[in-house]
């Protein structure tokens, strides 16, 4: 009960200071959604703790990472800290069109999502990361489901990755099998690691998997704007999707339209938040490799990186 007392005292102290600092902000808690991957949870906790340090009350709620945009739009949750261009761009844009949610700022980070292999695949197929070399090794990646073709384990269908179109456009000897969840991909990777079976899967960065299984992205013909719509663009003049995914997707912060009026102070702070790829990877590492709890990891990260976030609070 002792630490409760200190918590109470500090809460009371904050409560008396808070109105001075953020005169116009509502005292209702700011609702921050968390999803099921660690960097997002730690980042949410970190931003939540920054907001708490300047007197806001914050609550976390776990939600589905696609359905969350509907909730932000309705104001059930206040913001979303990781909007990935590739994975959630479509849901985000759809919600923006319906109204109620908007783009606050972008992190100083790039996201990349594409075909990826762990290092033991490269040992079996030394020509990697070139996609033509991958195609020549297709037989190494064959499974009973795909017959003589190599298997590419893609993400869930609703991530809309156009892998099958890519295979078709580049004339690859591969077949796309869609996993039902990210966890299914990790489970396959974990199993393949035990027997060092060559495997090529859909993966992205920043992501905890990089720390667990060192690996590389497959180098496809470079993405050019319009490669997905205009046949002339890309490697072949008569195909669409004859290129890799963009190697520098955005990572945005989105917020409920009402947040600006309800918590203007918090909104101003949020618009300054920006993390980089190494920072995000470090947050994920604290949880996935060091085994810390997300809230402790966030606190530890904030304590070690005051110079980064302190300026946001002014």
């Amino acid at each position: 009960m002792k630490h409760n007392l200190t918590r109470l005292v500090s809460a009371a102290a904050l409560a008396t200071c808070a109105p001075m600092a953020w005169a116009a902000d509502s005292t209702d808690p700011i609702i921050i959604p968390t999803h099921n991957w660690s960097s997002q949870i730690v980042m949410s906790n970190a931003v939540g703790q920054i907001l708490e340090s300047v007197g806001h009350s914050v609550e976390y709620v776990s939600t589905d990472s696609q359905a969350v945009y509907e909730s932000v739009r309705l104001g059930d949750v206040s913001l979303e800290l990781e909007v990935w261009e590739g994975a959630f761009g479509a849901s985000f844009r759809a919600a923006v069109e319906k109204g109620g949610i908007h783009d606050v700022t972008s992190h100083n980070a790039v996201t990349r999502e594409d075909w990826w292999y762990p290092m033991w695949s490269k040992e079996a197929c030394p020509g990697l990361p070139d996609w033509k070399a991958l195609n020549d090794c297709a037989a190494l990646f064959a499974t009973p489901e795909t017959g003589s073709k190599g298997r590419f384990l893609g993400g869930p269908v609703d991530w809309l990755k156009h892998d099958a179109e890519k295979v078709e456009a580049l004339g690859m000897n591969f077949q796309v099998v869609n996993a039902g969840s990210a966890a299914a991909i990790w489970a396959e990777l974990g199993a393949a690691e035990k027997t060092k079976t060559p495997i090529v899967v859909f993966n992205w960065t920043p992501n905890f998997a990089e720390a667990v299984w060192p690996g590389e992205f497959v180098e496809f013909p470079t993405w050019e704007d319009g490669c997905d719509k205009n046949p002339a663009v890309g490697l072949y003049p008569d195909k669409v999707y004859d290129c890799g995914n963009p190697a520098n997707g955005y990572l945005k912060i989105a917020a409920w339209d009402g947040m600006k009026d309800k918590w203007p102070g918090a909104y101003a702070l949020l618009s300054k938040v920006s993390f980089t790829n190494p920072q995000i990877a470090e947050m994920a590492k604290l949880v996935d490799i060091d085994g810390m709890e997300p809230e402790d990891a966030a606190a530890a990260w904030l304590a070690a990186n005051e110079s980064i976030w302190k300026p946001w609070t002014n």
Partner: protein, 652 residues
């Protein structure tokens, strides 16, 4: 006395079989002539497919925007939120009124043990107290309390709502007629189908988790209330009337207490259903164990997720045993003249211990909250074991995967997809006619006809194929296991406990090991489903065989039957109606699990359901949900009809 095998030959009703055979021939004909059929006979034609999803979405839009139901549901949700905040403060110290929590774990463990002792003595006390000690020492206290803070609110709501609706249905037969089909559908809808409307009307978070849990757990309470009220003997009512009771007094002091056992079984069912939702509800914001479990699985931390799974199983077994003990408990009578302290000795000891625990918790923080860093963990050994197991079994699974995919699953799947939809419908009509004549045939046609009209025929067939193969494999495992276990009472007891555990163990944990063993494909899906589908088969086989009257077995023994003859000619035929209930449940469980197996990667209804959930598409989600529910209801109808006919034939 005649052996049941003698009655077996009695033909059900000859004209049923004749029409059924004609229909069967017709179905085969449609299949054989597939290439000659117009395309409208192979797949549902364009004009037959109705935009159900749009209609449902229109209806929901009307409810939300024109009727203003949103304000109402949100107001209800806010009231619920207030209650959730209170329990959240008490159990894990969320900063809300009354701001006294969190209660030290020692206090809760002692209280649970005291309740256990009061209900059934030392063994239950050890189970109840031990569960909370395990939770605390494993460092899962906060998560478990987050889960319980929702369940503690959801359960009374469910029980109250179930009681009210049950009594209403009992008073008004017309209401019962409306309620019955609604309950049937509600109990066979996959969990995800419920969640989408809840997200739209309530939002996300603990309150949404609580509401989806309430909706999911209320049907058994309604059914048990109705059953209990109907079973109250008229003599009891008469004596109540003779004592001059008003209708309200009659209900409160006569009917409800008489129906106590049924009502408490209902409560038990509600609690079990609530726990079954712990993991799934975290998709829409239920905090606690389920949410943590999904996070850990996402990072492939199997050992830690198994720890959480064990906690959920322990909680379920504890609450199950405690509520059952409550159901059968008789009032205690004390010797006249015994003192107050003696009559309330458990209460007194509890009060003393709790005060001591509160005091100690102030001094020793470990007794208040065990931090994660101080927690025990068995994750290391579990992971190592899992690792060893996968390495060891890898050659076998690689072969099995190849064999099943190339020789069983792919051909079977192609066969299901090859069949013209008219042939499937005629086949089902034949099955219906064989079992229950024209009525059953029409019911089967109605259910599957609706699926054809939904426009999801191919995906529905893939779901059907996976359920069929899973139930067949489960039967190949479950029947022999059940028969073997039923031979000894102790063995049967142990296996039933294993069934309880397998059933309450969160299904999501199975998904990861089966992927590691078989990869992302149908073999993994079928393997995960078989685990679930086998449980009810084993359970009901054991219960059916052990429930055979001993006189029958003795009579057979005396007429010189060998053990094998007794099994095949006496015990199995007698147990068959019960085993059919198991088969029915097995199909239901498979349907639910196939939908969840979308997380492995499938191309069936489950995958679309997952998409509907992530895009909050109510119409699509419900249409898919109904398609799954109709499959379940059709199988339910066929098996129950058949089982009832068998029971009649056996004179049970």
């Amino acid at each position: 006395m005649t052996l049941p095998s003698a009655t077996r030959q009695a033909p059900p009703q000859p004209n049923y079989t004749r029409v059924a055979l004609i229909l069967l021939t017709l179905a085969c004909g449609l299949g054989l002539l597939k290439s000659a059929l117009p395309s409208g006979f192979v797949r549902p034609p364009e004009w037959l497919i109705l935009p159900f999803a749009d209609w449902i979405n229109g209806f929901f839009k009307f409810l939300r925007e024109d009727l203003g139901l949103l304000t109402l549901t949100r107001a209800f949700a806010d009231a619920l939120q207030w209650l959730l905040d209170v329990t959240a403060n008490l159990l894990y110290g969320k900063a809300r009124w009354p701001r006294i929590g969190p209660i030290p774990w020692t206090v809760i463990a002692i209280s649970a043990a005291a309740i256990g002792y009061a209900l059934k003595g030392w063994r239950l006390a050890a189970l109840c107290g031990g569960t909370f000690v395990w939770i605390a020492l494993m460092g899962q206290w906060k998560w478990a309390m987050e889960t319980l803070s929702v369940i503690v609110v959801a359960t009374p709501f469910s029980v109250g709502l179930g009681l009210a609706l049950g009594i209403l249905a009992w008073r008004s037969p017309r209401f019962e007629q409306v309620l019955n089909p609604v309950l049937n559908i509600a109990q066979s809808l996959p969990h995800f189908a419920y969640m989408i409307p809840v997200v739209v009307f309530i939002g996300v978070g603990p309150k949404a988790g609580a509401i989806v849990t309430i909706i999911f757990s209320v049907p058994p309470m309604i059914r048990m209330t109705l059953l209990g009220m109907k079973k109250v003997p008229p003599e009891v009512i008469e004596s109540g009337k003779m004592s001059g009771a008003t209708p309200w007094q009659l209900l409160r002091a006569v009917r409800l207490p008489t129906a106590r056992t049924e009502l408490l079984i209902g409560v038990n069912q509600v609690i079990m259903q609530c726990l079954a939702m712990v993991v799934l509800a975290s998709f829409i914001g239920m905090p606690g164990l389920g949410q943590k479990l999904l996070q850990l699985l996402q990072a492939l931390k199997i050992g830690l997720s198994v720890e959480i799974g064990l906690t959920i199983v322990l909680l379920a077994i504890m609450l199950d045993r405690a509520s059952k003990a409550w159901a059968v408990r008789q009032p205690e009578h004390h010797a006249p003249g015994s003192s107050w302290v003696w009559r309330h000795r458990v209460l007194v000891i509890w009060a003393v211990l709790v005060t001591v625990a509160f005091g100690l918790a102030q001094v020793v923080p470990y007794l208040h909250i065990v931090q994660r860093s101080q927690a025990f963990s068995i994750a290391g050994p579990i992971d190592a074991l899992m690792d060893q197991f996968i390495r060891m079994i890898a050659p076998v699974t690689a072969w099995l995967r190849w064999f099943l995919i190339v020789w069983v699953l792919v051909p079977l799947r192609d066969a299901f997809l090859w069949m013209p939809f008219t042939a499937v419908l005629t086949l089902l009509a034949a099955a219906g006619w064989a079992v229950g004549g024209v009525r059953s045939a029409l019911i089967c046609l109605g259910f599957f006809g609706a699926i054809a009209m939904s426009g999801w025929w191919d995906r529905a067939m893939i779901t059907v194929y996976m359920v069929c193969i899973s139930v067949i494999l489960a039967a190949l495992i479950g029947f022999p296991l059940g028969i073997w276990a039923a031979r000894r009472a102790a063995r049967a007891q142990r296996l039933l406990l294993l069934c309880d555990t397998a059933q309450t163990f969160p299904s999501f944990i199975y998904l990861i090991p089966v992927i590691m063993l078989f990869g992302v494909n149908d073999v993994a899906v079928v393997a995960a489903v078989v685990v679930f589908a086998a449980v009810p088969l084993v359970r009901y086989t054991i219960e059916g065989l052990r429930g055979v009257p001993s006189e029958l077995v003795e009579a057979a023994d005396m007429s010189g039957a060998t053990a094998r003859q007794v099994l095949w000619h006496v015990r199995l035929p007698m147990a068959l109606p019960t085993i059919m209930v198991g088969l029915n449940q097995s199909v239901m469980f498979s349907l639910f699990m196939v939908i969840i197996a979308a997380f492995i990667g499938t191309q069936d209804l489950g995958q679309e359901m997952q998409r509907a959930l992530s895009s909050s598409d109510v119409g699509k989600g419900l249409v898919l949900g109904f398609a799954v529910a109709f499959m379940g209801l059709m199988v339910d109808h066929l098996l129950m009809q058949w089982s009832a006919a068998r029971k009649k034939a056996l004179g049970l």
